[in-house]
Symmetry: C2
Subunit: 423 residues, 2 copies
């Protein structure tokens, strides 16, 4: 597959590009080190740009400030933020405070996005104190394993996944993290070897790096429920692929096979967008968009609730005998959106209600007392009743007006919703 | 339940009425006997009017000509028809030749319908030669068992079943024969006792009259698949309730219970028609009637084929994602009719096609090669395709035009059909 070289050329940052990143990272580190108190043990440039596994045009710099374990969490946070702010200010950038397991500084200088994250210095095998403490160990593990060639293979994998919408372990993407990509390439040796194996994966795939055995001996590994399990060499109680959804696991298997059947550069070039465009290039069923004014909380908090809301509404819709062809949800800064395409969105003013088995006398009695237009079919009692919702807008409006109970959804107020688009 | 007396008064023929029937029957018997050759062993007045279990206003007279077993079937038929014709002619009636297991004469004199049926004289336990040979034995068994009171109970049961559309063992009714009613009353002792037991019947009910044990000793009884099994005391290899459909068995249980919960004369007065009227007194989904020119064959032959056709078309309709609320079929002298009420009769020009599990590589390959607009959902491949039939008329017309294959249906030519009514 000669074209992979061409792809690599396109996605690999130039030496110039990487040099600039390194220079900026070093400047930041120098400033932080200069202003650090004694309990700061080290300041490190981590992440894919530090390891040479970054994609062209990604300007992310991760700087970790490693504190001695004796430092209190308050001190770590305060000093961490102070040092981060100072570094960005001195380089004339702007910054904001972001929150992961604890607050950290995100700075913007020119095109670069710099995360300056305080953490505890932990050794292999030691218990972590905050969730980000593993990152320096991940880095240490990876740089010992990666070489120039493997780094390029990681890039191919990342570009492939990105093009398929599977790159990223955030709550919206539910795909592959950068670290997962790096471990998979270390395990399989190359992008193509990974795909050749992946196309044969079954409902569950467990990957154990040799290093796990070397580092932990014959320890009993915990079981995980996720479809893909990759034990973290830094912490065997963690599945690096925990964020990958079953849906995306299946997509990866499917597209690995598709790619190997018909290898083409196309797969590295916004492939899923073209698939979507092709999918949408057809006559549609009735389409409706519900728009809900959103709270000022991060997507990570709201998106899972929006998914839960969508599922709950879909269930109500199906219970009322309308039929959904497709639904999806998304967010922007101001609104949550739920979109439906309907196969059936209008129904006559009659509903067939299935009652109990005619042999269940008590239940039959209740049913017969409740309904008037009764008949017997397939050994069951049925009733014709009037239909409450004869079209989908009526139903959605009563959901918005809270006349139909929904399960508890946090941080999204359905009554701030309205039917936005109907086609 | 005092009102049952009132019901009985209404449904029981007057003495005058029964006397006239008997007089006419005797006249016919006299004529036949007078003209009979030596191999005619007996001429009998049988059926419900002979046994005093007939309903008011039923003017049916069954006369059986019993031949000696040595008679050939040709001779039996020829002599049987000759004697039948002669009797009707001499009484100035008109007649036609009907066919059961063999031809017989049906005559009409005034309001009376007279069947004159030749058969072999068989004794209990002997093998029958033609299907109607059992009838004289049924009569013999019943008159030994019935008394005035039981005859009235039979009448109540018949009237109840008639009112519910469950009386008759023909292929359209699939209900209770007169003989079955008589045996049930003999077994249970009364109409109410039968209903009290019937309301508790489960998916299967087997009834064995004491006489069976008395007559056949400890013989092993055959098993039958029908929901209600009543062994014929005249022939234990025959289930008297074989014609009763599961649907009607369930209806009988349900309405027995309904009647006992709220006993009322209503149940004896065209009850099922009122149920139907009530069921239809509502807003409807789209209604369509398909009309097919029928062959000049008896209903008994065509009706089962029409039911088979209706089922086959319903399956095609559901496979094309339209949804039926109700369907039924019936016949008149010229046409077969199939009626549908639809919940969903129109669909958008897009079809969601469910493909294989993504793990089944060979099947996935075929699916992907066949369809263009592919996506992954719930570990399966799906495709959007164009819908061939966007409304029910298009589909029905292609069924009529034989563009959609149907299973083999005899004696009904679908291409002689047309869409008659649309509402």
């Amino acid at each position: 597959m000669e074209f992979l070289k061409k792809v690599l050329e396109r996605i690999k940052p130039s030496e110039e590009e990487n040099k600039k990143i390194k220079e900026l990272a070093n400047k930041i580190i120098d400033i932080i080190k200069k202003h650090s108190p004694n309990n700061v043990v080290d300041v490190l440039f981590l992440g894919s740009s530090a390891r040479n596994t970054n994609l062209k045009g990604s300007y992310d710099i991760d700087i970790f400030i490693l504190f001695d374990k004796s430092t209190s969490i308050d001190e770590l946070e305060n000093i961490g933020l102070e040092l981060g702010k100072k570094a960005i200010e001195m380089l004339n950038g702007r910054y904001e405070i972001n929150y992961a397991s604890h607050p950290y500084v995100r700075g913007y200088i020119d095109n670069y996005k710099i995360d300056i994250v305080p953490c505890y210095k932990i050794d292999f095998g030691e218990k972590i104190i905050s969730a980000v403490d593993r990152t320096p160990l991940h880095h240490k593990f990876l740089i010992n394993k990666l070489n120039e060639n493997l780094c390029d293979e990681v890039r191919l994998l990342k570009a492939f996944l990105k093009s398929l919408g599977l790159y990223g372990s955030d709550v919206k993407t539910k795909g592959f993290s950068g670290y997962l990509c790096e471990l998979l390439i270390i395990y399989y040796g190359s992008f193509l070897n990974l795909l050749k194996d992946a196309k044969n994966w079954k409902k569950k795939k467990v990957i154990i790096l040799d290093d796990i055995y070397e580092m932990y001996g014959n320890v009993k590994l915990p079981e995980f429920n996720e479809p893909l399990v990759v034990y973290d060499p830094v912490d065997i109680n963690r599945n690096v692929a925990a964020a990958l959804s079953l849906e995306n696991y299946c997509k990866f298997i499917f597209y690995s096979n598709q790619f190997l059947e018909n290898p083409s550069e196309e797969f590295f070039n916004n492939y899923i967008k073209k698939v979507e465009e092709n999918l949408n290039n057809r006559e549609k069923g009735k389409e409706i968009i519900l728009k809900i004014v959103r709270e000022k909380l991060s997507d990570d908090i709201i998106y899972p609730q929006l998914e839960k809301l969508t599922k709950a509404i879909n269930k109500i819709i199906e219970n009322h005998e309308f039929r959904i062809l497709r639904s999806k949800c998304w967010l922007d800064d101001e609104f949550c959106y739920i979109y439906w395409e309907f196969l059936v969105y209008e129904l006559p003013n009659v509903k067939l209600r299935e009652g109990p088995d005619i042999f269940k006398k008590e239940r039959v009695k209740k049913f017969v007392n409740k309904y008037d237009k009764i008949f017997i079919k397939n050994c069951k009692v049925y009733a014709f009743t009037e239909r409450k919702y004869k079209n989908i807008e009526e139903l959605l409006n009563d959901i918005i007006n809270k006349k139909i109970p929904l399960p508890k959804i946090k941080n999204i107020d359905i009554s701030k919703g309205y039917i936005y688009g109907i086609k």
